[in-house]
Symmetry: C2
Subunit: 144 residues, 2 copies
Amino acid sequence: MFSKACEYGIRAAVYIALQSLDGRRVSVNEIAEEIDSPIAFTAKILQQLSRNNIIHSVKGPTGGFEIAREDMDAVKLNMIVKAIDGDKIYVGCGLGLKECNAQKPCPLHDKFVDIRTDLSKMLKSTSLFELATGLEVGLTYLKR
Amino acid sequence: MFSKACEYGIRAAVYIALQSLDGRRVSVNEIAEEIDSPIAFTAKILQQLSRNNIIHSVKGPTGGFEIAREDMDAVKLNMIVKAIDGDKIYVGCGLGLKECNAQKPCPLHDKFVDIRTDLSKMLKSTSLFELATGLEVGLTYLKR
DNA sequence: TAAATAAAGGACATTTTTGTCCGATTAATG
DNA sequence: CATTAATCGGACAAAAATGTCCTTTATTTA
């Protein structure tokens, strides 16, 4: 569904949000450790998220990554997915046809649109804050 | 969503089914031409489908690929997907966690299960025959 | 102001996916 | 029985995704 990069990106963003709720800024090393991901690869992904203004980075000692409380509400999963995987999840034919639309649909078009609409709605309506608070109260987990 | 191999596999299977409805056995070359896919790569995928008894192959002159009328009903999309992509679409965590289940869910677990259940239902309930007949009456397309 | 710390970024390495080529095998037909 | 047409299968090639290493840049603090 998502690329590895995107999986790490979402997990990292949720972890950063969780720590930011406690006012803690976190380093790539801590993030990679806590979400069980490759450090350098995770660093690249965090750069992408930072460039897309999804998370905020601070250089130098005491630096690291953080997310403002308001941004946790504003940032929805679809923004993270788009920043990392582009819009290929939302766009294009399920069977790989170049042209596929209601006028000239592939055999799976309608059924595919249904699934994708649901996925899209879910991603657009799920905020980082929602995911981070689930973690905070111990309902969900990020590791293993 | 699906790998390229799986996209080609589904398109090929639908085309073979369509032609089999007319009693025509088709060659890899014709299939690749008609579904606009790389020939040799398509041949590999057809071998996989053949080994999994999803399509039937006949060697030698007048040979090619075909699907019996009964099999078009029996073969559902999930069987093709499984033969080519394995069960990674149905199994495993959306965020890539090794352990992720109702007892120890990732932050996206429940929402992911919903989407995947829908996808799974759709694939399990869609037969090759259904897709081939849509093509036959000109409601859907396989190329471009 | 020097040292230390952390992200940024470029180059490179590995693995997986996608795709190609060619000889071997099978079967129909003249 | 030779020729030809088709799939089968293995080895190879190219491209994309994943992952690593190392240098540079920014910033804090002693």
